[in-house]
Symmetry: C2
Subunit: 133 residues, 2 copies
Amino acid sequence: MKEAINSDWLNSINWGDDGLIPAIAQDKDSGRVLCLAWMNREALALTVAEKRAVYWSRSRQKLWRKGEESGHIQRLDELRLDCDKDAILLYVTQQGGIACHTGRVSCFYEKLDGDNWQVVDPIIKDPKDIYKK
Amino acid sequence: MKEAINSDWLNSINWGDDGLIPAIAQDKDSGRVLCLAWMNREALALTVAEKRAVYWSRSRQKLWRKGEESGHIQRLDELRLDCDKDAILLYVTQQGGIACHTGRVSCFYEKLDGDNWQVVDPIIKDPKDIYKK
């Protein structure tokens, strides 16, 4: 793993001062933008090695294998880098068709309607049923 | 403008310590993710007021009306907020069909192919012709 972390393709990324970059996950079939999360060097190396989205949780300060509790894994189909080399785009296949911890397809489920954010996407599955232990 | 900046819908956003949030622009017709840029409170208020993407340029430390030089304006069709309220998604109509300063449709034009980033999207228009004074 240490060798992978020093790969040229990882070195060419402009990591932020905090060692992170924003990563966008997009459903490769529907085109829906599913979520924006963060990756450090290890998370991105693991994402490619394991062909699934692995993020860095800023709130928990640890690696977060997306779907580790819910089963809602994001299988990696393609990885893109932007022109400034400081943002990543993942084309993914979303297991279960649910990316959001609220049980919705996408984390972007609130739409600005006039002066108010309105929830416009339905809950596909109750979070209680997703995260039952 | 001052009034607009204190709107409830702006106050409900979890702005970063630097006063910024990442904003994703997605072409509403093709579904292509065009770019990831940053917004502060004023940029987002202006985006909604002017119905076009206005970002905060971190490198130039000033407001950046996308397309102000190139003409490649991003018309705002819809604005979305994510579940953590710390990322924005814009559905836009991309004037000229070019979002990237390199003359490409999207800023995400490099694809990871094995251990290398490969340019996979063509240049639609030479930047010399886009930014001629």
